[in-house]
């Protein structure tokens, strides 16, 4: 049994999500290869080769793969697929984009967002916004899987795998990349942060959201937001924590002015410790929080900052 892990990267650095996906591969068991499909991504390959337990890193280098276009990356994976029993992607925007395309072409079912491995063909995945956990068994010859990164602890980078160049596929030519708008942030990446401070509709405005900055600074935390806050324009899209945004599982999650709708809880209820600050004592968020403070956030947040 050989497992192919598709590396998540920006052509410069390997994204941390790959370490969690490789951890899922270790649990499945077998030889692990990593595919780096990109352009001028030698640095990524070097980082991937250090992942503990990985035996080989395959590098496909081509301008066709530079921007992660689904059509091209899927062809690259398909060119290798027949040698593998499992093909694993991170359940990130890019992994979810490419993976079903690979599965359909192989005529196999894709198993989405696994959060636990029961055996080489049986996996656990959340359904209904995390309100139920389904255990599913695949009978397909090649298992195409996306891995929910918060379900697996990242592997160490103390290995030394062989790096091998492989032939890159030609561009499919169905789509082209026009541009990218990257949201700037000096804070840790939301999905990997140790502490996350999130604001909800209760923040009231874009200006008021800044009240969370000093709190996040004290914790070295990433900032997040509920869908209500994002939809109201208080916070950018990529801060959204929830079923339709990012799934996080930090050591500490601080929910400020967030009522705790099902869709939000689906994105954060696996956090180790949850703190809720809300003036409504009946808010559902208090049903999942370890420590709840019923208070006006505009007085409580500065007080917490002062007390830390």
């Amino acid at each position: 049994m050989t497992i192919l892990v598709i590396a998540e990267h920006d052509n410069v650095h390997l994204k941390a999500a790959t370490l969690n996906v490789a951890a899922a591969a270790v649990q499945i068991g077998g030889e692990i290869h990593v595919l780096v499909a990109g352009f001028n991504a030698a640095g990524v390959a070097t980082e991937a080769a250090k992942i503990s337990g990985v035996s080989k890193v395959l590098v496909a280098d081509s301008t066709a793969l530079a921007d992660g276009l689904a059509e091209n990356v899927a062809e690259q994976v398909l060119a290798l697929a027949s040698s593998y029993s499992h093909i694993l992607f991170a359940a990130t925007a890019s992994g979810k984009n490419v993976s079903p395309r690979v599965a359909a072409r192989l005529d196999v079912a894709q198993i989405s967002e696994i959060q636990a491995v029961d055996s080489a063909d049986t996996f656990q995945r959340p359904i209904y916004a995390g309100n139920a956990i389904a255990t599913v068994q695949s009978t397909d010859a090649i298992k195409v899987i996306t891995v929910r990164t918060t379900g697996f602890d990242a592997l160490a980078q103390d290995g030394s795998a062989v790096v091998e160049s492989i032939e890159a596929v030609a561009a499919v030519g169905l789509s082209s990349f026009i541009g990218r708008e990257v949201a700037k942030s000096d804070r840790p990446e939301l999905a990997g942060a140790r502490v996350v401070v999130s604001g909800g509709r209760g923040m009231g405005s874009l200006e008021n959201f800044k009240i969370l900055d000093p709190l996040a600074d004290k914790f070295g935390a990433a900032l997040g937001a509920s869908r209500a806050a994002v939809d109201a324009g208080y916070a950018p899209n990529d801060w959204q924590v929830g079923q339709t945004g990012k799934i996080v599982a930090p050591q500490l999650y601080v929910a400020v002015g967030i009522s705790g709708a099902i869709q939000h809880l689906a994105g954060m209820k696996d956090s180790k410790v949850i703190v809720a600050v809300n003036k409504d004592a009946e808010a559902p968020i208090f049903g999942v929080s370890d420590y709840g403070l019923v208070a006006d956030l505009f007085t409580a947040v500065p007080e917490i900052v002062a007390a830390l």
């Binding site: 689904a70 059509e71 979810k96 359909a104 309100n131 255990t135 990349f177 420590y291």
Partner: protein, 249 residues
Amino acid sequence: MKVLVPVKRVVDYNVKVRVKSDQSGVDIANVKMSMNPFDEIAVEEATRLKESGAASEVIAVSCGVAQCQETLRTAMAIGADRGILVQTDAELQPLAVAKLLKEIAQKEQPQLIILGKQAIDDDANQTGQMLAALLGWSQATFASKIEMGDGIARVTREVDGGLETLELKLPAIVTTDLRLNEPRYVTLPNIMKAKKKQLDTFTPEDLGVDVNPRLKTVKVCEPPARSAGIKVPDVAALVDKLKNEAKVI
């Protein structure tokens, strides 16, 4: 240009589902069902394309039990011109749905197919990409903006860390993200008009598609419950608990 919009009937997003005691699945008997929220956004976008003159006809399609007709009527009340139901009582997984939609797409020859990015029941996020793969078409998932040009679609996508813009050759597949648009409320006159619109029905056998599930659901259980927390009286107590009890700071 024809636009095809697949829609799914799912448990309403406001319903808190319960797992059946025999762990065979989620209890969906007698719960409110609605159109998947991402699909509503897809129908709205297709309708706007028609209103702007970019599309000539919008066709809604749904696969599943007879009651999916209601979902199709909702799509027609928003603005779809006609509906197609692929009726079956079988459990449909994304790969099977993608194969059914491929057959419908080959009959109807749309230039654009807009799907929701994921259904809120199985949370799979697969069908659009699978359909694009089976048809050999271009794809843009998680769209927050669609602009139609001559033989192309320019789509802005929500990706981790920001936005990216792609240009797709038509025919193409687009899947919707939440911020693509705000679906309109359906009005009573439009609900009445939707009842008169054409609705064709096929079966998977008519389309020659094997819909047997590939993934076996072994069991469905409740997620582990979080142990009940406490409410702290003030900020000092909260910080003390975090430092000395939870030891996270």
